[in-house]
């Protein structure tokens, strides 16, 4: 399991972000720690390299660690902490330049599924794209082009398709998106989705970010295309999720 460390100048920001993360990544095995604030009660604004180092020692005991940081000196403190750790421990840690809140949540959801450190890192790094797309629209967003094209070729005529309408109020957003991705990961199958209503491209679903890319809202019509051994079972389970309004 990849564990997550949140380094912030503000204890409130870090614990608040951890709270958001836990809402969507509920596995008990996933460890999220914060190293934030300074002083006896973490009340003051600042970061403490010693606290970061201790947190890293703890989190690396049973896995690798992705670290998200807020501003400048949080980076310096984290680098300083890494310098103080032995090489073997430091090699299990990766600093991630993703935006703090978006990155933490994307990383949490991905780590929750038992993904590798690289996958968790990549997912966090793409976290800004979904937000960009929502605010700036299609053209200005650097979508994961290459990846989705490649994956598309892997999906051949032996795939099964399902046409379905998004009925839950929040659409494929945040928590439903997480559930959606977790369901896919359970199966030995791959999924790509086209949002007919938004007129978007076919998107290979690899993680939360690609789901966010669909920008699927209530009322949108989607085509789910599945390939792989478990494709039928996966589609059935996904269909059930939509029918249940993702539990909303």
């Amino acid at each position: 399991m990849v564990n997550i460390l949140l380094v912030s100048h503000s204890y409130k920001l870090a614990t608040g972000t951890a709270e958001l993360l836990h809402q969507m990544a509920t596995s008990e095995a996933l460890k999220v720690r914060v190293a934030a604030g300074i002083g006896d009660d973490h009340e003051e604004i600042g970061t403490n390299a010693v606290e970061i180092m201790e947190a890293l020692m703890e989190l690396t005991m049973d896995g690798e660690v992705l670290v998200l940081m807020d501003l400048g000196s949080a980076l310096l403190s984290t680098e300083m902490a890494l310098q103080m750790l032995d090489e073997e421990t430091a090699a299990r840690v990766r600093m991630c330049p993703a935006p703090f809140v978006e990155g933490a949540i994307a990383a949490g959801v991905q780590a929750n599924m038992g993904s590798s450190l690289q996958e968790v890192y990549d997912e966090a790094m793409g976290a800004l794209d979904a937000k960009r797309k929502q605010i700036l629209g299609e053209e200005e967003t650097p979508v994961e082009e290459a990846a989705s094209v490649q994956e598309k070729e892997a999906i051949t005529s032996d795939g099964v398709e399902l046409r379905i309408t998004v009925t839950n109020a929040s659409g494929l957003h945040a928590r439903p998106a997480a559930t959606f991705v977790q369901t896919i990961k359970k199966h030995d199958a791959k999924l790509s989705v086209t949002n007919l209503t938004q007129g978007g491209e076919e998107v290979a679903i690899k993680g939360m970010i690609s789901v966010m890319m669909l920008a699927a809202r209530q009322g949108d019509e989607l085509i789910l295309k599945a390939t792989g051994n478990d494709r039928q079972a996966m589609l059935e389970e996904l269909e059930q999720l939509f029918l249940d309004n993702f539990g909303e």
Binding site: H9, I38, G39, E44, I45, G46, T47, N48, A49, V50, E51, L71, G72, S73, L76, S77, E79, M80, Q83
Partner: protein, 211 residues
Amino acid sequence: MTIQRDDVLNWVREYAQVIEDNHEMLTELDREIGDADHGANMRRGFKAVLEKLPTVEDKDIGTILKTVGMTLLSKVGGAGGPLYSTIFMKAGMTIGAKMEMELSDWAQALEAGIAGVATLGKAQLNDKTMLDALYPALDALKQAIADGVPTGDALKRSAEAAHQGMLATVPLMARKGRASYLGERSIGHQDPGATSTTLLLESVARIWADC
């Protein structure tokens, strides 16, 4: 004469007092181009250092400087924390278990400390950081040693060079640290970190004047 362990202790104590006397000024500078905490950060750090110092008073210079560095690390909070901590820790590691040192040992220690700051912060000369005071101070010190200048004068030249470097940060645009968020608006203000490191080297020159 050489620089004794007690001279090092006296310098650290003196600098803690200098920070106590100047923390408001440092915070004011940081208010202009940062987040108004540099003085408060340094003050919190050196208060903790003063509390810690009695536990290592009878130890060697290296141990004392490393202890100062470790204490700052967990107390200072801002960028100054890891940066000042690096200066003291690298200096302490370079000097090692000595009870007294030559001026050239100090120059090597300072050089290691500054190299540590550059590695960690990835800043260069003229990025409007503490390095703009530290680099000229080191150059002046090395030059003075090469010229055979006595310790007291050599340290004075080094401190003066730091002071010039500090003043020269005023027209610069910040490229590192929090001030870099301000871009051109950082021009016209003196860098707080360059100011506090100048105070550091000025206190060295005062306390070790007769070494």
